[in-house]
């Protein structure tokens, strides 16, 4: 019997003829029950084909995105937009967010897309209803930042900051704080550029005064923007750092100390080793008494020790986080993540914790190969960033074995500088690949 027929073979075939009716517990026959149940499930009405096709369309978009088929995704998107006219108001209201997420993803990657297209799209999506204005504005600004358009990003954030609609809800408040904080971060950037310029100027220079005045203005606005956010529990490292730097520059040592102490010791904040390091650094700069320094350091080390002790377990957590990060399309080219994943994988397998890797890999093995390790990506990664390609190839080799296309592609590339690295990679894969651990 060939493979094909085996596909059809089933263990038992006898005495399996269909029961005529739905049997209830007492053996009574309720033939109508099945139909009744079916209709109730969809709220008494048959689902419209419109609803059925739009949800099918959504899954086609998701699949296309997964396979990086931006063209197809755009094609389906064209049809999916109809959902904005759905007569079901629930679906209609949920749609803008879905469209924004998928659409921005498509426009981010599509070869024919441009900055202008993205901007128009974002502006349109912001104004569909009022629910998404702030969120989309913030993401739009981040997109602009990504493309180095600081001024546009700043303008965007300012616009979002002044936008008002209805009551201030708590979720809105967080968003507004974030928007302001990012604006503050941008201002900090200009400020620190100005600081650089100032440091190059002579104090007697006539320009010095205006420049310093300028800086002062900036810092004032910035601190207002930043301080609201860092009151809220959370991990705000970049914001805290820049805020403290500015406070220190203008001699507000008390303010800076308060911020840092709060950031490090407030119970409501998640435990964050960086917070202690910042505080220690600040105290050292301030020439604080030795005892105090030591106490801070002790605490910091203590925390680090705990981290250390739990290192093995942390490896597991690390793997989890890294895999999770790389699930996002926006992070596919993040070299740090790949580097760490390669490192962690090697270490975990060296420590013979194959199960940990498999636990993470099982849910991903049916889509990561297409998502990350396709031939297309091998080629484009190698073109764009050879180190990234090497790291990814190592991961691909470990997870998928020597036969995987990504690994094979990178392996056969001839590169003078990376020769050693590739050789190492081959060795590691041979040693640790989870596909055929026997070899």
């Amino acid at each position: 019997m060939s493979d094909f027929s085996e596909e059809l073979v089933r263990p038992t075939t006898e005495d399996e003829q269909g029961e005529t009716c739905v049997l209830s517990g007492t053996g009574m026959c309720f033939p109508w029950l099945q139909k009744h149940i079916e209709t109730v499930a969809t709220g008494g009405k048959r689902e419209k084909d419109f609803a059925q096709t739009t949800s099918a369309c959504l899954s086609f978009i998701q699949e296309a995105l997964l396979k990086h088929q931006w063209q197809q995704a755009a094609e389906y998107m064209h049809s999916y937009l109809q959902i904005l006219e759905d007569s079901d108001s629930n679906k209609r209201q949920g749609a803008p967010e879905i469209i924004w997420r998928l659409g921005s993803e498509i426009l981010y990657y599509h070869p024919k897309s441009s900055l202008e297209t993205f901007n128009t799209f974002a502006d349109r999506m912001k104004n569909i209803g009022v629910m998404n204005y702030l969120k989309i504005s913030l993401q739009h600004a981040l997109y602009l930042l990504h493309h180095g358009l600081l001024e546009d990003a700043n303008r965007n954030l300012s616009q979002a900051e002044t936008w008002r609609y209805g009551e201030k809800s708590s979720s809105k408040e967080v968003l507004i704080n974030l928007i302001q904080a990012y604006k503050g971060l941008l201002q900090y950037y200009t400020w620190s550029k100005k600081k650089m310029e100032l440091s190059q100027l002579d104090e007697d220079d006539y320009a010095y005064n205006t420049a310093s005045q300028n800086m002062l203005n900036h810092s004032w606005k910035t601190s207002i923007n930043l301080c609201a956010l860092i009151q809220i529990p959370g991990v705000w490292d970049p914001f805290v750092k820049s805020y403290v730097e500015m406070l220190e520059f203008y001699g507000d040592q008390d303010g800076a100390r308060e911020v840092l102490t709060n950031y490090a010791y407030d119970e409501k904040f998640p435990s964050n080793p960086n917070a202690h390091i910042y505080l220690y650094g600040f105290l050292k700069r301030e020439r604080a008494p030795r005892e105090k320094l030591i106490s801070v350091l002790k605490l910091s080390i203590e925390k680090n020790m705990i981290l250390h002790r739990k290192k093995e377990e942390h490896h597991k957590l690390g793997l989890e986080v890294l895999f999770g990060v790389l699930d996002f399309a926006g992070c596919t080219k993040n070299i740090t993540a790949w580097k760490y994943l390669a490192k962690y994988l090697r270490q975990t397998l060296m420590g013979s914790h194959l199960a940990w890797v498999q636990e993470e890999w099982n849910s991903r093995k049916n889509w990561w190969p297409r998502f990350h390790f396709s031939y297309f990506w091998a080629k484009s990664d190698w073109k764009d960033d050879k180190t990234l390609a090497c790291e990814k190839a190592l991961v691909a080799g470990i997870l998928l074995g020597k036969g995987c296309r990504y690994f094979r592609y990178v392996k056969k590339q001839d590169h003078q500088v990376l020769q050693k690295k590739i050789k190492q990679m081959k060795k590691s894969v041979k040693k640790y690949s989870i596909v055929n651990p026997g070899l």
Partner: protein
């Protein structure tokens, strides 16, 4: 739209810097490109136009009051008439004879109007109370006559004329404005048609109300009357493939037939027709119209199981030789007899033959007779055939079930994938948005505009390669030719491997059979059987899925039909109430 009125406002939008303003209901300006609503309202800005203010104010005053569009006066039944007319035209372009439209459908429709007391009767519904007659010779009305062409057929008196004739004192009641005025006052309940609101509320006992699915019931009844070569599943597939106007049919109304409010629920639908539903409606309509016995379905008719079986055998790439067996089954079961096949709404009210489903069920029964389809015998028979074909390359090849499965599985999967993709891309919404009420209108228009703009953006990203040319409609979905090596054609293969000679006749080698259903409900519910997929063999499921996809019906529906054929075929078994797995050898005569 109020875009015209907003032209004098020239400032740039604060959000997107465009100068493209519309007016909201409150008279405020909103940007049509980003939907930003300003605080500025019409009145304030307009001070510069002092000399004309009065006139403009008057103008606007009038316009404001009349938020709803004003077009021709038309009735819901005219709308359906227009759609039926479009559908009949489409059928004609598909190759159906012109009599279908001019005589059959026309007569059915007249009969419907009469039975539902809308026209051709002494007391049309519209004359009761304050309502006016249906089709008065209103001046604005005559323009729209060009549309319902059904009327212009010279052999029958024109619809409008006869409508007037049947109402001797028609001229006395024609004040359309009387109904129209109070309606537009109640802004939330309205309709573009004169009787849309009443129509949607009408619930009379014994009256079958017209609906979009029922237009297809009318089409099918006319096709059946004419004994055309179109089955119900073909008709519905043509609807889905847009050869026959349905989902977007109302968009073809003349410009002046405005459609909104309650009309939306009547004419704009968001589902494709469903076989079971339309089948029920066919019977319902035929009964309501009190139609006489339909022309006989004889052996030379397309709808006769012998011919349909041949057609479907070709469609699914099975050997022509199976035809003898299907004919045999048809004969034994008696489903090929004129009395059984011919539709007679008055005599047997609740049933008509589902010609296509039945033919397909016969083929499935024959496959079961030959191969048992128990996930076992079909494969061993295939191995024998495979071996024979290898050894005798010159001979007519034996039919190899496994090979057939491989070819069909691939073909059907591809077809299904394409079908699903096409469905997912289907554009339901019309270019002109439909709104429920005056309050709704600007919102709906804005939403539409937004969608169009976004769609433009994404279609710009799609390759401009012209879409695959639409293939011409065909009752065949597959095309099997001898040449294609990848898609072997099995039409010429022989069944020798599965038949054996016994005296003068041929018998199936397989002497076993299993019944799809052991018992039938004896209660009044007529419920035949529930199809629980996991209870059946995989090859049976494959065959069932294959055919139900071709007909676009539910697998359980087809399974039911198979059970019914088996019930006729193995009458004795069922009468004896044998509950054990039945086995039966069947003689098959060769002609």
């Amino acid at each position: 739209m109020d875009l015209e009125e907003a032209k004098e406002f020239k400032e740039r939008c604060t959000q997107c810097a465009a100068v493209s303003w519309g007016l909201t209901d409150e008279g405020k300006y909103y940007c049509t490109s980003c939907h930003n609503v300003t605080e500025r309202s019409k009145e304030v800005v307009n001070t510069e136009a002092i000399p004309n203010t009065k006139i403009q104010a008057i103008n606007r005053g009038l316009k404001r009051k009349q938020k709803l569009e004003k077009g021709w006066d038309w009735y819901v039944c005219e709308g359906f008439q227009h759609i039926l007319c479009q559908q009949a035209d489409a059928l004609q372009t598909l190759g159906v004879g012109p009599e279908l439209k001019n005589e059959v459908l026309h007569n059915f429709w007249k009969r419907y109007l009469q039975k539902s007391k809308q026209a051709y009767c002494k007391n049309p519904v519209y004359t009761t109370g304050r309502k006016t007659a249906v089709l008065e010779d209103n001046p604005s009305h005559s323009d729209c006559d060009s549309a319902p062409e059904l009327l212009s057929d010279f052999s029958c008196p024109s619809f409008v004329e006869s409508g007037a004739e049947s109402q001797p004192d028609g001229h006395a009641r024609k004040p359309f404005s009387i109904i129209k005025a109070p309606q537009s006052e109640m802004a939330s309940i309205c309709s573009g048609s004169l009787d849309g609101v009443e129509y949607s509320l009408r619930k009379e006992k014994g009256i079958v109300k017209m609906s979009m699915p029922r237009t297809l019931a009318f089409c099918y009844l006319s096709l059946l009357w004419q004994r055309e070569t179109v089955t119900l599943s073909d008709l519905l597939r043509f609807v889905e493939e847009e050869y026959i106007p349905y989902i977007h049919a109302f968009q073809q109304f003349p410009e002046e037939m405005k459609l909104y409010g309650r009309d939306k629920g009547i004419f704009a639908i968001e589902s494709w027709p469903n076989y079971e539903d339309i089948y029920k409606k066919v019977i319902e309509v035929a009964t309501f119209l009190d139609l006489p016995r339909f022309p006989d379905i004889t052996e030379d008719c397309y709808l006769h199981p012998n011919i349909l079986c041949m057609k479907y055998l070709m469609e699914v790439n099975l050997p022509d030789e199976m035809r003898d067996l299907t004919c045999q089954v048809v004969k034994v079961t008696g489903i090929g007899e004129v009395g059984f096949l011919t539709f007679d709404p008055v005599a047997k009210k609740t049933e008509t033959v589902k010609y296509d489903v039945q033919a397909v069920a016969v083929i499935i029964v024959v496959l079961k007779l030959l191969f048992l389809l128990d996930d076992n015998l079909e494969w061993s028979l295939s191995s024998i055939a495979e071996k024979y074909n290898e050894d005798n390359k010159e001979d007519k090849p034996w039919f190899d079930f496994r090979k057939w499965y491989q070819v069909m599985k691939k073909a059907i999967d591809e077809k299904k994938q394409k079908w699903e993709e096409a469905r997912a891309k289907y554009i339901w919404k019309s270019e002109k948005p439909l709104y429920h009420s005056a309050i709704d209108k600007p919102v709906v228009h804005k939403r539409r505009e937004m969608v169009v703009n976004l769609q433009k953006q994404f279609s710009a990203l799609v390759d401009s390669t012209p879409a695959v040319e639409k293939k011409s409609p065909s009752s065949f979905q597959f095309n099997w030719t001898e040449e294609d090596s990848d898609r072997t054609c099995f039409h010429g293969h022989s069944l020798q491997g599965v038949l054996k000679k016994k005296g003068q006749s041929l018998m199936t080698k397989n002497s076993l059979y299993w019944l799809s259903t052991q018992k039938f409900c004896k209660s009044y519910c007529k419920h035949v059987t529930t199809y629980e997929e996991s209870n059946f063999s995989l090859s049976y499921r494959f065959v069932l899925n294959l055919f139900s996809f071709l007909l676009r019906i539910k697998t359980s529906f087809l399974h039911e039909e198979v059970s019914l054929i088996e019930k006729r075929l193995f009458k004795k078994k069922y009468n004896n109430k044998t509950k054990k797995k039945s086995s039966k050898s069947r003689k098959v005569r060769r002609h």
